[in-house]
Each structure stands twice: as structure tokens, then as C-alpha cells.
């Protein structure tokens, strides 16, 4: 099997880089042992909400924060891509999806309610969540279901009310739990299972009947992420008509239904561009020729296959996804054995407070890249001439503190994919 570009890693950054390379007419293959974090994430594209220097204040726009990063952290992935590059990447991301599927830009933060009643500042928001934005005032009703795991309206609503007061937002929230016989018979439904069942119009009607009397003066009604598994549009529109209010989804615990929808959209876009998706296959190692990677070995159907390409994109993720491996002795990059920038020892990986405003030193560990996203050593020398690096494996970002994970994935994925076409 010969390709121009092989992308290792099927998370958000890998898929975006594959799409960008394919857009330029390259033959692209994605080798991935899993779906990355798309099924763990909220469904929103977090661009950046907080300055990593320990400030806990919300205020500056993502664009302003990116400018500060550019001045302060030259190696930060956002700095490597640059503001205009980030904007192009966001435009490209949106172009892969159905028209209007995601809204938002780097010039403002959107604040959404979460399933535990906290406020989540984010960048791009799926259409299913748009009506939940908290800068709009008015009353909101939040609906939970008896027997539905991982979403409790009596938990969420009072917490959200407290969060809104704290943030001096004027929205008002009320929580209700409804019992639907057709659901409770099945007991212990998950959000995903319920989302599948809500594609059934009859059940949707039953739920609308239960919820309608509760709407009262609420101008919008929030549900857990159950508005259809593959498509949320028809379910949402149907409920909006019957409830006479806008309807939105509330991001919550994984497995993520909005993440599944996004993964489907992007995979469809890749299929249309003729990208070969080898999902479930694991890259084991690489064959080198001088400073270039010639091929990678892939475990496929119980055999080991050698795959050649002119260029490679390393999008294997961070510690969570195995792109970086954490041993007691240190952090390693397993595929190419690239040097990993990291704290001096395990004793200083973490601070003793989980929510320490400074963040944890380990969280900024990773592979260092130059502006072309080539992996480099400490002196900035290029280590692999035909390999680009993107996503969570890159050093210097702190998605936990900055709230920048999916934005960095899209920005660096797009840039890596575009540049790889020069190989």
C-alpha cells in the first residue's frame, strides 16, 4: 500500500490533517487504533478561555489570549500556527461539516451551562447547544429523566443558578425531572441509548407531552445530549415546535453523543475526499532512512503490514491516548522515540492541589516542534524531515488550564496537513 501521506492517529487533529492533505489532492491514509478523544469531549470546540499564567479571570477573547501567547510562549502550538493560520483552520473545519453545524469564532467566548451546573466558556458551539448560551437572559427550563444515568436536573439547576449569580449573568434556571414509562421500563438508560431512541417520532411525542406543561415562562428548554444519535436537527425542531420554546443540549459526561456526531461528519468528509481510514489498526514502529521516515509497521488483521509514504503526520495524542507514555522514569514518545520536553522528575510532575491555578508542570510536557511543525531537538534542529506533529502530543500547551484542547487540535492539524503536501 502506497500513500503520499500517512496520518497516525484518528482523533480530531489527525482527521483534520488528513482532510487538509486530501484537499490538496494527496492520497492520504489515517491509521488509528481508536477514535481519539472525540467520544470523551464535550462537543464544543474549546479555543482558549484562560491565560495560562494562573489568571482565573474570564474576560479576554480567544484572539486576545492568542496574541498574548504569541508574545509570551513562542513554542506554544497556537504561536506556531499564528492567528491568521488559526482562523483559516477554523474556516476549514467548518467547511468540512454541514452548513452552520458549528458557530463561533476567535473574537468572542461563548458561555454554556454544563450537566453539573457549572459555566463552560468555549469557542465553537454545535447547533444543538447554541440556544443554551448564557449571555442571553430569560428563563431556562432544564429537563432530566427518571432512570437516565449521568444527568440530574435537581443537581444541575441549583448549581447553575449559583454559577449564574457568581458570574453576574441574568439568566434564570429551573430544573424538572420527568418520568416516561417507555423509558423507565428499560431502567438505567445511558445518554447514548436515549439519543438513539429519540430518533423515534412517537416517543418524541410522548416526551413533548410530558414536558409541555412544565415550560411555563421559559423561553428555552435544555436537555441532556439526547436529541438524536446521528442527527440532532429533526429531533430538536420537532421538540421546539411542540414546546413552543427553543431547545438545546447540555454538554455532560462521556461517552459523548455530540462527539460521535462530529466524528461522523468528519469521517464523511474524509470519505468524500477519498481518504483511506484504517481505524482499529495500531502503528507499531517506524523504519528510518537517514533523517526521513520511510515506512511504518502497522498491526492489521492480526498481521504486521509495512506502509510507505512520502510524508507522515504524528497525531497520536498525549498521555491519555498513548501518543506519550508515562513511566516512573519519565515520559517517552513510543513511535519515533522523539525527545519529550518534560519536568526533571516524577517528584515535580504535579502540584499537590488538583486545581492549582498555575497548572501542573507535566501538563505542558510533549514533543517540541518548529513553525513548520517538524519535531525538533532542544537546539531547534529538525529531527525528522518528512514528519509533522500536531495535536495534544505537542509540548507547551495546557488544555486543562487554558481550555484549548480541541482548538489546538484543529489549528495544528490543519497546518500539519497543509504543509505535508509539500513533501
Amino acid at each position: 500500500m502506497d500513500f503520499d501521506i500517512i496520518v497516525v492517529g484518528g482523533g480530531l487533529s489527525g482527521l483534520i490533517s488528513a482532510a487538509a492533505a486530501a484537499e490538496a489532492g494527496r492520497r492520504v491514509c489515517v491509521v488509528s487504533c481508536g477514535t481519539g478523544d472525540l467520544l470523551n469531549f464535550s462537543g464544543c470546540i474549546d479555543l482558549i478561555a484562560y491565560h495560562p499564567g494562573g489568571s482565573t479571570r474570564l474576560g479576554p477573547t480567544p484572539a486576545e489570549l492568542m496574541e498574548r501567547l504569541a508574545a509570551e510562549i513562542p513554542q506554544h502550538p497556537y504561536t506556531l500556527v499564528g492567528k491568521s493560520g488559526i482562523e483559516r483552520a477554523i474556516g476549514f473545519f467548518k467547511s468540512l461539516l454541514p452548513e452552520g453545524e458549528y458557530s463561533g469564532d476567535i473574537d468572542r467566548l461563548i458561555q454554556l451551562p454544563t450537566a453539573i451546573g457549572t459555566i463552560k466558556p468555549t469557542g465553537l458551539v454545535p447547533r444543538s447547544m447554541a440556544a443554551g448560551a448564557l449571555d442571553q437572559g430569560g428563563e431556562m427550563l432544564v429537563v432530566g429523566f427518571q432512570g437516565l444515568r449521568d444527568f440530574s436536573a435537581p443537581y444541575m439547576a441549583p448549581n447553575l443558578a449559583a454559577s449564574l449569580a457568581e458570574a453576574q449573568l441574568s439568566a434564570v434556571v429551573r430544573g424538572e425531572t420527568v418520568a416516561v414509562d417507555a423509558l423507565s421500563r428499560h431502567g438505567g438508560a445511558t445518554v447514548g441509548a436515549l439519543a438513539r431512541r429519540l430518533e423515534d417520532e412517537a416517543l418524541l411525542g410522548i416526551i413533548a407531552e410530558k414536558v409541555r406543561p412544565l415550560v411555563g415562562r421559559a423561553s428555552r428548554v435544555g436537555f441532556p445530549t439526547i436529541l438524536g444519535f446521528m442527527k440532532d436537527g429533526p429531533t430538536r425542531q420537532c421538540l421546539e415546535e411542540r414546546l413552543g420554546a427553543r431547545v438545546f443540549e447540555i454538554p455532560g459526561l462521556p461517552p459523548s453523543v455530540p462527539g460521535q456526531r462530529l466524528a461522523n461528519h468528519i469521517q464523511n468528509a474524509l470519505n468524500r475526499r477519498g481518504v483511506c481510514l484504517m481505524l482499529g489498526d495500531r502503528a507499531l514502529g517506524a523504519q528510518m532512512e537517514g533523517q526521513k521516515c520511510r515506512s511504518i509497521r502497522v498491526a492489521r488483521h492480526g498481521q504486521i503490514t509495512e506502509m510507505n509514504a512520502r510524508g507522515f503526520i504524528l497525531a497520536t495524542g498525549g498521555i491519555r491516548n498513548g501518543g506519550l507514555q508515562a513511566f516512573r522514569s519519565g515520559i517517552r514518545e513510543p513511535l519515533f522515540g522523539l525527545p519529550v520536553r518534560q519536568p526533571s522528575g516524577r517528584g515535580v510532575w504535579f502540584r499537590s492541589s488538583l486545581f492549582d491555578p498555575e497548572g501542573h508542570p507535566l501538563d505542558r510536557a510533549g514533543v517540541t516542534a518548529n513553525v513548520d511543525l517538524h519535531p525538533v531537538d532542544e537546539e531547534g534542529r529538525i529531527l525528522l524531515e518528512n514528519v509533522r506533529v500536531c495535536g495534544r502530543i505537542l509540548a507547551w500547551q495546557d488544555p486543562f488550564k487554558e481550555k484549548s484542547g480541541s482548538g489546538v487540535a484543529i489549528a495544528t492539524g490543519y497546518k500539519a496537513g497543509t504543509l505535508s503536501t509539500m513533501e
Partner: protein
């Protein structure tokens, strides 16, 4: 106001053991626990019923007492003691003379011990390192300390003792050189109450000095620190430790049901405010354990924790204080002129019953009661009975075993397969339950993710039942996660770290909880 004969302050095995002993002698008493029986030392303890061999050379008197009690507990708590045996293993470089000295002392003390060749030792304990030269097999056993404390408390309750949980002692009632009871506050209701009593026993382990100070008695204590690592799987059949003076290294590998606890030797306590295990200590524990049992290096660690041991500064001149393992009952009437007030020190898990007996004897002498101790004869309640017998009054019933799911039940804790009905069952009396209480009572959150995933689910159940102060649930969640982190970050590498990265992504990226008040 309440009236009783004896108030016992403390929540561990010794305190519960005293309540059991006294109530079996028909003496009315109240056991006052600061939290529930799982709080404090009991959940920070390795659970070894020592054979005495560890201390035989340094403190033969205590060693004999250990062995004697080890046999009694194995008998009265048969249903939840695991007679694992223990191995003292000799590695290259270890003192060969010590092993002969130890065997001779054990023979003199009547503690059964067998010298095993490397091969025999390996047959008995296949996980041992090939470097092991030889070993001594001794009759160590293990017990779940929480279950043991609980069984004592339940037995005490059956014999008429009152169990009060979540009670803070605010003051000691002392009149004319005599203790008359305690002034206490119930944490759940905020209610303050005087308990009048003829005797008060201070068995509050790490807090003994603070309690004694309430009666105006200075009680200067020495402190040492123990650090522990809990692993996801069980590595050994029995207890494994080095055949050395315990003060040298003394790392212990203790099987604990399906998990393993690795423990350091007591360390000097430098900072009393910082009772946590550090990553460096964890690495040392694992390296030391790995020398005896190599799989300790590979297994997934799921939590690290530490505890303080207290000891009287000077006891026997010939023994360094930290090595002294004996029990001390202080009669403050004799020592400090405060009659009716006693402090129990030095009771270990293995000798808790003996400590309870000695304290009860002292109280009986003062009360003029001639009844003899019978706690060594009567068996403790069986584990399965602990789940069904709701104790009277102020103590919730307990479900130590996972129950069969009921219709409509859903799994809350995926690691330990705990269902929502079990969580609901644990909520027997209304009040501001903490997450920790529920986890102790149900076993939810003690598996490999250490409550990282199920804590929000448990809080949701509380919210659905209207049992949470409305807008305080995220504060409770934050506090729980912060506390949990102290036990997780020292062991966060490999699979543990991967799971932790997911939990942090949910908490901080999806929920932005770090910016919630």
C-alpha cells in the same frame, strides 16, 4: 443531657473494642466517634494481624502479646480474618546472623516459625523474587480493619452500647478533680449535648493529646509517619517482608482481599501538617517491595496515603520509643489528679482487643464491677450479618458485599460494581452526608478510578433525593476531588495516569470545575 456510665472517645478498633468489652460486662456506655468507623487510622492501616515475629528480637514481651492476640482474633473474627501466613525473606546482603537470632527468640517465645529454603519459599509464595536466599514462615494473618472495627461496634450495640457517629468532643466536664462526662456536638444536626458519665476513656489515636488537653492534662507524644501504596491487584498469597530489624527497612507487602497494600517502615515525622505520601516515597516503597516481589514494580498503583503513629516519648529505657509496641493505659487520676479519666496508647490492630480489655479492667476497678472480660471467648458478628442488622439509633446499616441489582437499578461505581440501590440504602437517616461516608459504607469509589467517575453520580443521587444542600454539591465535588488527588498524584504514571487524564479532562475541560466556586 444523656446519662451513662462510661464514654469512650474514638472510632477505631480499640475504641469499639472497649465499647464491646464494657457492654459485655453489662456496663452502660456510649461510643463517641468523630466520623464513622472508617474514618482515620482504620482506613489508613495495612490490616496485618502480626505474628509477633517482626518485633521478637527488639521487644520480646510485646511479641508474645502479639502472637497471643493474633490467635484470639483469628478465632473470634474467623469469618473475616484471612490466615495468609507471612514470610520474612532474606535477600543477598542481609544479616544472616539475625535470622538465627530471630529463630531462637521465636522458639523461646513459643511463636511457631519454619525456616524455608528458597525453593520451599517460592512454592509457598510464587511471586517471590528469584534472588531470595531463604525465608521464615510465620503465622501472620490479615483482616479488613474497617470490618473489624465495624464488627466490634455492632457487637457492642447488640450488648447495649450506644454508638454515636459524627460527634465532636468540645469539652471535658471536670468537677473537683473528677471527670463527669463530655460536652459534644453532633455534626449532622448541629445539636450540642452533655453526656454525664462516671468514667471517660480517651482512645482517639492521633487526637489523644487534644482530648487530654481538654481535661487540662499535657500529654506530649512522639510521632512517626507511615506511608502506603494501594495496588489494583493482589500480588501475593500472604504477608511478605524483609527478615531484618523492623527499624532498618521494614517495607511490608500485605494482601488485602483482591488488592495489595505496600507499606514503609515508620519514618521520622518532620512536618505534622503534611501527612501525605510523596512521589519519592512511593517510588521507594515500590522499589523495596519490588526487591522481594518483582511484580510490585509492574502492577498498577491506585492510591498512596500516609498516617501518623503516636507513641509516648519514653517508656522503657532499653527500647527506643518508636520500637516499643506495648499497650499503655494511663490512669489520669493517679498520674494527673483527674479521676475517672483514662487514655489508651500503643494499641495496634493486632493487640486492639488486649488494649480494650486492659482499659475496661481499669474502668471496672473504679466502678467496682467484678465481671470478667469475655471478649476473647465470644465470636464477633459474621460479615454477612453486618449487612442486615441495622444498629439502633445513630448508626447506618452497612453493605460490605455488593448486592444483586434490583429492577431499574443502574451501576454507579463501575470499578466495584456498586448499584444505585446500594447507595440509596446507605442513606438511612437524613443529614448532610459527605461523599466519603457513602463511599466507606458502600464500597463505591474504592476501585481503580478511586471515585473519579462515580463521585458525580453519587452526588446526583443525593440531589435527586433532596439530600444535598442545594447549591453546595459542586463545592462537595471539588473538595472530594482535591482530597482524592492527594492520594492519586503520587501514584500517577502508566495506566493510572491515563485514567487520571480522562478524569481531569472531564472535570476541567468539559465542566470547567476549576473555575466554579
Amino acid at each position: 443531657m444523656e446519662q451513662t456510665d462510661v464514654v469512650i472517645i474514638g472510632g477505631g478498633c480499640v475504641a469499639a473494642g472497649i465499647a464491646r468489652d464494657l457492654s459485655m460486662r453489662k456496663i452502660p456506655c456510649i461510643l463517641l466517634m468523630q466520623k464513622d468507623p472508617a474514618y482515620g487510622f482504620i482506613s489508613r492501616c495495612s490490616g496485618v494481624l502480626e505474628s509477633g515475629a517482626l518485633h521478637a528480637v527488639a521487644d520480646p514481651v510485646a511479641a508474645r502479646e502479639f502472637y497471643f492476640e493474633n490467635r484470639i482474633i483469628s478465632r473470634i473474627a474467623e469469618s473475616f480474618v484471612e490466615e495468609t501466613d507471612g514470610l520474612l525473606v532474606l535477600l543477598p546482603g542481609d544479616d544472616l546472623e539475625y535470622i538465627s537470632q530471630l529463630l531462637q527468640t521465636l522458639r523461646q517465645l513459643g511463636i511457631p516459625a519454619r525456616r524455608l529454603s528458597a525453593r520451599k519459599a517460592m512454592d509457598k509464595e510464587p511471586a517471590l523474587a528469584p534472588e531470595v536466599i531463604e525465608a521464615i514462615a510465620v503465622p501472620d494473618a490479615t483482616v479488613n480493619p474497617y470490618t473489624l472495627a465495624l464488627a466490634n461496634a455492632h457487637s457492642a450495640s447488640e450488648h447495649g452500647a450506644q454508638l454515636w457517629i459524627d460527634c465532636t468532643v468540645l469539652a471535658m466536664l471536670v468537677e473537683e478533680g473528677e471527670v463527669k462526662g463530655v460536652h459534644t456536638r453532633c455534626q449532622r444536626t448541629g445539636e450540642e449535648i452533655d453526656i454525664r458519665a462516671r468514667c471517660v476513656i480517651n482512645a482517639a489515636s492521633a487526637n489523644v493529646s487534644a482530648i487530654a488537653a481538654m481535661a487540662g492534662i499535657p500529654l506530649p507524644l512522639g510521632f512517626s509517619k507511615l506511608s502506603f501504596v494501594l495496588t489494583e491487584s493482589r500480588l501475593t498469597r500472604g504477608v511478605v517482608r524483609r527478615c531484618q530489624l523492623p527499624s532498618l527497612k521494614g517495607e511490608v507487602i500485605v494482601p488485602s482481599e483482591c488488592q495489595t497494600i505496600l507499606r514503609t517502615a515508620p519514618m521520622e515525622m518532620l512536618n505534622l501538617d503534611h501527612v501525605a505520601a510523596s512521589p519519592e516515597e512511593v517510588d521507594r516503597i515500590i522499589e523495596q517491595a519490588g526487591q522481594m516481589v518483582p511484580s510490585a514494580r509492574e502492577t498498577r498503583a491506585i492510591r498512596a496515603f500516609a498516617t501518623i503513629q503516636t507513641f509516648l516519648e519514653i517508656r522503657r529505657p532499653s527500647i527506643p520509643p518508636a520500637a516499643y509496641r506495648g499497650i499503655v493505659i494511663l490512669d489520669h487520676g493517679v498520674k494527673d489528679g483527674v479521676r475517672g479519666f483514662y487514655t489508651v496508647l500503643g494499641g495496634k490492630l493486632t493487640t486492639y482487643r488486649r488494649a480494650a480489655q486492659l482499659a475496661s479492667d481499669a474502668v471496672c476497678r473504679r466502678l467496682g464491677v467484678s465481671a470478667e472480660c469475655t471478649t476473647h471467648r465470644e465470636t464477633l458478628p459474621k460479615m454477612e450479618d453486618l449487612s442486615t442488622k441495622a444498629t439502633a439509633g445513630r448508626m447506618p446499616s452497612v453493605t460490605p458485599f455488593a448486592q444483586a441489582p434490583k429492577p431499574g437499578d443502574e451501576i454507579v461505581c463501575q470499578c466495584k460494581k456498586i448499584y444505585s440501590s446500594e447507595i440509596e440504602n446507605s442513606l438511612v437517616s437524613p443529614g448532610p452526608f459527605g461523599l466519603g461516608d457513602i463511599q466507606h459504607l458502600t464500597g463505591a469509589g474504592i476501585g481503580s478510578c478511586q471515585g473519579g467517575v462515580c463521585s458525580t453520580r453519587i452526588l446526583s443521587i443525593l440531589a435527586d433525593k433532596g439530600m444535598l444542600p442545594e447549591d453546595k454539591s459542586n463545592k462537595a465535588l471539588r473538595e472530594f476531588l482535591e482530597e482524592r488527588w492527594k492520594g492519586v498524584f503520587p501514584v500517577a504514571w502508566g495506566d493510572c495516569l491515563r485514567e487520571e487524564e480522562l478524569i481531569r479532562a472531564i472535570v476541567m475541560e468539559t465542566f470547567n470545575l476549576d473555575h466554579s466556586k
